[in-house]
């Protein structure tokens, strides 16, 4: 599979630079000298996967250690997939161009539900049985991580193990264990290997758990099948990011990837407590990095990559205690070296806009805010913690600073939503447009309203709620479309059917794995791309397997229902979520725990961790 053969294929595909593996800073460790070999597999195209910070972190952390190596693999484009199948060639890793079957461990990241069929396609292209139960001695261990493990049950039968939580420490531990089992010659004793993994903190081996169902189709219990397998698997947390590995020599892609910039992770976690947000729940607690460490990492990144942009990444970068200082120092330090600073996520407030103003030389681009809901009542229900004054102050500040294009993110179909909430979106968009015309005379302000459909997620206060029916979502989209017409207004929305499948999978159980296989057999793959998503694959898959998607997406769950993911522990107390749910119905806002008042989510005492905030004069800036 090496050398000339690949090159011949590459002359026949679009974007061959996806598959070379010789990008700057790519690590090619000697195969023979590193007996533990893992491939990190991103179940989407290269341009998406290479934008993922988690890959860069784990690639660096594993390759830094002696005796182990990590290579990369991505979903091939449809043209290369066709050539591989036609020529009976297996999918290969980028660095050594070896078939994926030659690795000891394949690690998939579960970033979004719509990548699940692509995981199957990759296993199939690699010549690996889809079902973990059908794999035997000599097959790689297939493991999964990332936010999808908040509820991995729909894909559980495809995986040998999952890692819950942060991987910087846990993954090298796993590989070291695989190494010692290999040395002992015990690696082919699959049962022993799986039991050993199950005994490691943070690792969940789904085949060692039995799922029992009630007559009504809900889960009755998920119990260990044997002794020594923990009843609950608790997620791993890096307690202090300052002590954690961070990649300052990441791969510099040849191709322009989706997020084509250096990533400086200023903190992990978010304290806002928006009630729909899964990331805000499962990445708790907030851990900020020290300013001096970030400045050093930024310098190393610039020196090692030559990139022209540093992105200050996190779930809510404007919350980082010393963000102002960090942004100003970086902007000043790199201005003459052609390196700009970007903030991927802005809070809806004037502070964030001033921050963006201070670092971003490019004013012509769009400034994006996420009010999420169109009325104050609904924003309180979801605990967004933003009022209309905040929004208009922020957009006003943006127009005054010279921005002409504002983009607003909203969610449609939120619990308790009524027509007036939707009309509130329209009203808000129009008022912002008027504001722009007043504040930026002579300009041509535009307001883009981007509306996604609410998908209820595990580990959130809304995990019990039904999703709006596809027809209802389409009606609501139509209502917005009719009202959001006119000069300066733009409207875009997400395909309702995609959100429906996401809702089915996000709270699904193991039985759904059959539907995922059936959809893949009908051609479903790369479904994060609208041009490849084909709803009929799923309709037929549900029909064929006799599974009712409405049971998963549209059903209102009882509060005492046992969920398919209840044996997993992300530190969030279910009682806290129930309390948050009740507060949502009452329209009560719960304060950010940064302010010092503990909301009782259970993470810190449950996981034995604490918030790490770096102080600093954040509030004096506002």
């Amino acid at each position: 599979m090496q050398g000339i053969e690949l090159e011949k294929l590459l002359t026949r595909v679009s974007k061959p630079a996806r598959y070379l593996g010789t990008e700057w800073n790519a690590i090619h460790k000697a195969w023979e000298e590193n007996p533990v070999r893992m491939a990190f597999v991103y179940p989407d195209l290269y341009e998406v996967g290479m934008s993922h910070l988690g890959l860069a972190i784990l690639y660096g952390v594993v390759n830094e250690r002696p005796g182990m190596l990590m290579e990369r693999a991505f979903a091939p484009g449809p043209d290369l997939e066709g050539l591989l199948r036609e020529n009976h060639l297996p999918l290969f890793s980028l660095e050594s161009h070896r078939p994926l079957t030659e690795f000891d461990v394949l690690g998939f990241t579960l970033q979004y539900e719509m990548s699940y069929t692509t995981i199957l396609n990759i296993l199939d292209l690699a010549g690996i049985p889809l079902m973990a139960s059908e794999r035997s001695a000599g097959h790689p261990l297939v493991i999964g991580g990332g936010p999808g493990v908040a509820n991995p049950e729909p894909v559980a039968p495809f995986f040998d193990a999952f890692l819950l939580g942060d991987g910087e420490e846990a993954l090298p531990e796993l590989l070291a264990m695989v190494g010692s089992l290999k040395k002992e010659g015990a690696i082919n004793d699959r049962r022993r290997v799986l039991k050993a993994i199950a005994s490691m903190p943070g690792f969940y081996v789904p085949s060692l758990y039995e799922v029992e169902y009630n007559n009504d189709g809900t889960v009755a219990a998920v119990v260990p099948r044997e002794e020594g397998v923990p009843e609950r698997v608790v997620k791993r947390v890096i307690p202090d990011l300052d002590a954690a590995y961070f990649p300052t020599q990441p791969i510099v892609p040849f191709l322009e990837v989706i997020h084509d910039r250096m990533m400086l992770e200023v903190m992990r976690g978010c304290t806002h407590g928006c009630r729909f947000c899964q990331a805000g729940a499962i990445y708790r607690p907030v851990r900020e990095r020290d300013l001096s460490i970030l400045l050093r990492q930024a310098e190393e990144l610039v020196r090692h990559t030559g990139h022209e942009e540093i992105s200050l990444t996190s779930l809510s970068t404007a919350d980082y205690s010393r963000v102002e200082e960090l942004a100003r120092v970086l902007a000043a330090a790199y201005a003459d070296r052609g390196v700009s600073i970007s903030l991927p996520s802005l809070r809806v407030d004037a502070f964030s806009v001033r921050l963006a103003e201070a670092v971003q030389r490019v004013r012509k681009s769009t400034l994006t805010f996420a009010p999420e809901a169109g009325s104050q009542r609904l924003r309180d229900v979801i605990n967004k913690g933003v009022n209309e004054e905040d929004i208009l102050t922020a957009t006003g500040e943006a127009f005054r600073a010279g921005w002409q294009a504002i983009k607003l993110y909203f969610m449609l179909g939120l619990p308790t939503e009524r027509e007036e909430d939707l009309l509130g979106i329209v009203d808000l968009a129009r008022r912002i447009l008027d504001q722009g015309r007043k504040l930026a005379p002579g300009g041509k302000p535009t307001v883009t309203v981007s509306v996604s459909s609410f998908v209820p997620k595990p580990w959130t206060a809304f995990q019990w709620e039904p999703q709006d029916r596809v027809e209802a979502i389409k009606e609501k989209q139509k209502l917005l479309r009719t009202h959001l017409k006119g000069p300066g207004l733009r409207f875009n929305w997400h395909e309702a059917e995609v959100s429906f499948i996401e809702a089915v999978l996000s709270r699904g159980d193991r039985r759904l794995s059959r539907a995922i296989v059936a959809a893949w057999r009908r051609g479903a793959r790369l479904e994060g791309w609208s041009e490849y998503f084909n709803y009929s694959c799923w309709e037929e898959a549900f029909r064929e397997t006799g599974l009712d998607p409405a049971f998963y997406a549209y059903r209102s769950r009882r509060e005492e229902e046992i969920f398919p993911w209840d044996h997993l522990d992300f530190g969030i107390a279910k009682d806290f979520l129930k309390r948050e749910r009740r507060r949502a119905w009452e329209g009560l806002v719960t304060a950010d725990c940064r302010s010092g008042r503990c909301t009782g989510c259970g993470v810190c005492p449950g996981l034995g961790v604490d918030l790490i905030l770096k102080g600093g004069p954040r509030d004096s800036a506002t």
Binding site: E7, T11, P16, A17, V302, R303, G306, H307, G338, K364
Partner: protein, 233 residues
């Protein structure tokens, strides 16, 4: 200070397109810590100017690139520092200073030489006949795909030389200017030959008054008299 870089492109680097090359050079220059001159405006970027674009999949022995520095540096040092930052397949052959007034590469280069080879080479005799037939024609029309459908173009005036070499390879000297470009595959196609397995751009030239000059020979805006006669093949 303006510097002109001559480099070769081979191995897996042939799969990098023009935009990828631009990004790659910009980043290599930044990593090398060179005092780059940046463009003004909202999104400053290093001022680079490439010679004629090279299609993906084609090797080259002579690609050119102009860069601009804010402080004078020894071209030999620039060559070393930049080479250390380049991925496999790209090799800097030469770095030399040019005057601020020197015209851009794309303004002077008008000719490209190619070598074309096949894994299963055609019969040299047949190849020779086909080459002679091609050269004897006054007009050679090829169809060129475009945004608004295919367009027919006469490539014959842009084929300056065509010669069969030992090992059944084909060498050609083709127009490569702002006025027109003939691609080696078009010539091969017009000769009714199989698609070649290997295409190498062997040189880029300034062709004027029956002479061929390489860009390194042509550094002075005053046309020097040291050009070779019009035959590189």
């Amino acid at each position: 200070m303006r510097l002109r870089i001559k480099y070769s492109k081979g191995g897996q680097a042939v799969f990098l397109g023009h935009l990828e090359m631009l990004r790659l050079w910009q980043r290599a220059m930044r990593r090398a810590g060179l005092p780059l001159a940046y463009s003004h405006g909202f999104n400053p970027h290093p001022r680079l100017a490439f010679g004629p674009a090279l299609a993906v999949g084609i090797e080259s022995l002579a690609e050119y690139l102009d860069m601009e520095l804010t402080a004078p540096l020894d071209p030999v040092e620039v060559k070393e520092r930049l080479q250390a930052e380049l991925p496999a397949g790209l090799e800097i052959l030469l770095v030399f200073a040019i005057s601020d007034q020197a015209p851009a590469l794309t303004a002077i280069i008008n000719t490209a030489a190619y070598r074309v080879a096949w894994e299963e080479p055609p019969d040299p005799k047949i190849l020779q006949e086909k080459a002679e037939t091609f050269l004897s024609q006054q007009v050679v029309r090829v169809s060129r795909p475009g945004k608004e459908g295919a367009r027919v173009k006469d490539i014959r005036p842009g084929v300056f030389q065509l010669a069969v070499k030992p090992g059944a390879t084909l060498e050609m000297l083709l127009e490569c200017s702002s006025r027109g470009v003939v691609r080696p595959e078009e010539v091969v196609g017009a000769m009714a030959l199989e698609g070649p397995s290997r295409v190498i751009r062997t040189g880029l030239f300034i062709r004027r008054d029956g002479r061929l000059l390489t860009p390194e020979e042509y550094v002075d805006p005053q046309f020097p008299a040291r050009g070779r006669k019009c035959s590189v093949l």
